[in-house]
């Protein structure tokens, strides 16, 4: 599955100087670059601490990254349109607690029904965000910052100091995280399936391409006959549904859920998307890149633990990485644009 950003996707002139060609190639194949970084990270950590490369550890990495990766994919769809969804952390919290409550009330609920309920909670939240942005014309940063507060506050009022424990969950549900198929945790398989569907949607479907068009130039998209409002609404619905699903999976993975579940995860998710080369100004980015971004951040976090570096360094390193990723991405895109302008001017 090679998916590339739709912008700046031109062949480079063969006569260009070697270094800038290389830079341009790197800029165009950011997924490749990220993949190399990921392999290098795993390899270096593996050489320094051979016990890092055991199956249990890798499974843990995948389980940790699956939920953040899912959320990052949802965020990508929104960020492609120059919007942002800061409310996802609160939606995950509400959905995780909601599904937990369902299991307390109906202990024998089938797992698919529980996950569908999680998605439904997410869809409801997403429709509020989407309506505020598309119909109320509230800037997405303001709208989703507000709903971040409102959903989390509602969660606190609902939970009221209580919590859901793993003992109230049936085995079949917990199996989502502990059970495996072909040696891969079921939870990871669900995440991969959703990511693949989203990737194909963004790459090959008219609706998916419209997300890119809106982010590249909203006015041009409107003039080209795209229903911008409808597409923005769909984007927030996707992001909300994924956050809801992630809430259900969170409950399966951790078993214990209280009102502060997933608090602050939105910044981690934006960080993963930015590291994964999703442009904060819209129009560029892929699900593959976003997932690789989440994987890189997830592997770094576990590598720090394995290398016995103080966990207090984790956040500083993550922050430095985000700044570095934004800087290189923007500078690369700019030099690429400059080269294309030159190419156009000089034939």
């Amino acid at each position: 599955m090679i998916i590339r950003a739709n912008t700046m996707d031109q062949e480079t002139p063969p006569a260009a100087p070697a270094i800038s060609t290389w830079l341009a190639q790197l800029g165009k194949r950011r997924e490749t670059a990220l993949f190399v970084v990921l392999i290098a990270l795993v390899a270096c950590t593996g050489i320094a601490r051979p016990q890092f490369l055991n199956l249990q550890n890798l499974r843990d990495v995948l389980l940790n990254v699956a939920i953040v990766g899912l959320l990052t994919a949802g965020m990508t769809v929104v960020m492609l349109m120059r919007h942002i969804d800061l409310s996802i952390g609160s939606v995950v919290g509400v959905s995780a607690y909601g599904v937990g409550c369902l299991y307390v009330a109906f202990p024998h609920l089938p797992v698919p029904v529980a996950l569908m309920a999680a998605v439904a909670i997410g869809l409801a939240a997403g429709s509020i965000n989407g309506a505020l942005v598309a119909i109320g014309r509230v800037p997405s940063l303001v709208a989703t910052l507000s709903t971040l507060y409102i959903f989390r506050g509602a969660d606190y009022a609902w939970v009221n100091g209580g919590q859901i424990n793993a003992s109230s969950l049936p085995d079949a549900f917990s199996k989502l995280a502990t059970g495996t198929a072909f040696g891969i945790p079921t939870l990871v398989l669900i995440a991969v399936l959703v990511l693949a569907c989203l990737g194909v949607y963004l790459k090959s479907f008219r609706g998916g391409r419209e997300h890119y068009a809106i982010g590249s130039n909203p006015e041009a998209a409107r003039l080209a006959g795209i229903h911008v409002e409808r597409r923005v609404m769909v984007g927030f619905l996707i992001s909300g549904a994924i956050a809801g699903l992630a809430g259900g999976l969170w409950l399966a993975r951790f078993g214990t859920v209280d009102a502060s579940t997933a608090k602050g995860i939105e910044l981690q998710v934006v960080a993963a998307a930015v590291v994964g080369s999703v442009a904060i100004n819209g129009g560029a980015g892929t699900i593959l890149g976003a997932t690789l971004g989440a994987l890189v951040l997830g592997v770094i976090n576990i590598a720090l633990v394995v290398l016995q570096i103080s966990p207090f360094w984790q956040q500083a390193i993550q922050g430095a990485l985000i700044v570095a990723a934004v800087t290189t991405d923007t500078l690369l895109a700019r030099s690429l644009a400059k080269r294309m302008m030159r190419k156009r001017d000089h034939g």
């Binding site: 942002i84 505020l132 109320g136 014309r137 509230v138 800037p139 940063l141 303001v142 709208a143 910052l145 507000s146 709903t147 971040l148 507060y149 409102i150 989390r152 506050g153 509602a154 606190y156 009022a157 009102a259 602050g264 910044l267 934006v270 960080a271 930015v274 904060i280 100004n281 103080s310 207090f312 360094w313 984790q314 956040q315 500083a316 390193i317 993550q318 922050g319 430095a320 990485l321 985000i322 700044v323 990723a325 934004v326 800087t327 923007t330 500078l331």
Partner: protein, 335 residues
């Protein structure tokens, strides 16, 4: 430039006056609600508490207003507060005298702001992305500096500053800094060429550049200022709670931005006044205090913050939309 700037903002000013009038009414209403809900609400101790609770957020909201007026944003303010607090603890434990510690912390904050400004201005990166990164970076530095430790042995002569009031009034001493700061920032924003140029930058950055405003330099100054003021907020927070910790002020950035936006400053830049922001800070402080007095948990109270923020943008938008539809109907009827 002097001719253009007032022309740009003159018409918008009238629209803003109404928002500030509305805010004043809401503030009066919140005070009345507080009095209704609890008999202790209007006691001087409680009024002191209201002001004390919004001290740091108010301080950080001052430079944030400037930054959002130019159309940028700084999400890293609370992390600078935390890093400053941690740095203060570390330097104090190294045995430096308190005044020197404070100077070094403020310089550190200014440097953090300069990093933001350099990335946004020189490298022309989007400030939203940059400051999400430095939000994590500066908070990370705070943890690296102090881990999960706390430094609490600050001299009593300094920590008393956080508890005493100004003379016989109910105004807490830390809030005096907010009052002085608000006056300074208000004069700069509304009565100096520099302040007016910020509106021009926010309204149309390239037009501002062509009319001779050094946009980059202005923005760089604002980010440095934001870091510096956040460091001061960090010092006050540390002294007030007698505790330097890496996680001090976590999440404050959203409260600061919410207060600025609810105060009528447009997220797109070019509009808003410091007066509105001050009113909005007071409203948030009063409402939170009043509801806390009737035992609403502080986490549930975030619903109020969210609703206020949302309504500050949604209601004007809906009114504008309704007016546009009405005008269209009128025009159609006249034909």
């Amino acid at each position: 430039m002097v001719d253009i700037v007032p022309a740009v903002t003159a018409r918008k000013h009238t629209a803003h006056l109404t928002w500030e009038v509305l805010l004043t009414v809401i503030l009066a209403g919140s005070l009345a609600l507080g009095r209704l809900l609890s008999s202790v609400f209007l006691q001087t101790d409680n009024l002191s508490n209201i002001l004390l609770d919004i001290t740091e957020i108010s301080l950080m909201a001052l430079p944030m207003t400037f930054i959002i007026v130019t159309g940028e944003i700084d999400l890293s303010v609370a992390s600078v507060l935390g890093a400053s607090s941690a740095l203060m603890g570390v330097l104090w434990h190294m045995g430096l005298p308190m005044p020197l510690v404070m100077v070094l912390v403020v310089v550190g904050g200014a440097m953090a702001g300069a990093l933001n400004g350099w990335l946004v201005v020189r490298l022309e990166l989007p400030s939203l992305a940059v400051t999400i990164g430095t939000l994590a970076l500066f908070r990370g530095i705070a943890y690296v500096l102090l881990g999960d430790q706390a430094v609490a042995d600050f001299p009593a002569s300094y920590t008393a500053f956080g508890m005493n009031t100004l003379g016989a009034t109910f105004i807490p001493q830390p809030f005096a800094i907010v009052i002085v700061g608000a006056a300074l920032f208000g004069i700069v924003l509304h009565a100096t060429p520099f302040g007016r140029s910020l509106y021009a930058i926010g309204a149309n950055s390239s037009a501002a550049r062509f009319s001779g405003i050094d946009v980059g330099k202005a923005k760089l100054r604002l980010f440095v200022l934001s870091g510096l003021v956040s460091a001061i907020a960090g010092i006050i927070f540390t002294l007030r709670f007698t505790s330097a910790r890496g996680d001090n002020g976590e999440g404050f950035e959203l409260a600061v931005i919410a207060a600025v936006l609810f105060g009528g400053v447009s997220i797109f830049g070019g509009r808003g006044s410091l007066y509105g922001v001050l009113l909005s800070l007071l409203i948030v402080g009063v409402l939170r205090n009043a509801l806390t007095l009737v035992d609403v948990s502080s986490e549930t109270l975030t619903i109020v913050t969210g609703l206020l923020l949302l309504s500050s943008v949604l209601i004007p938008n809906l009114v504008a939309g309704w007016r546009a539809r009405r005008d269209k109907r009128l025009v159609a009827a006249r034909r």
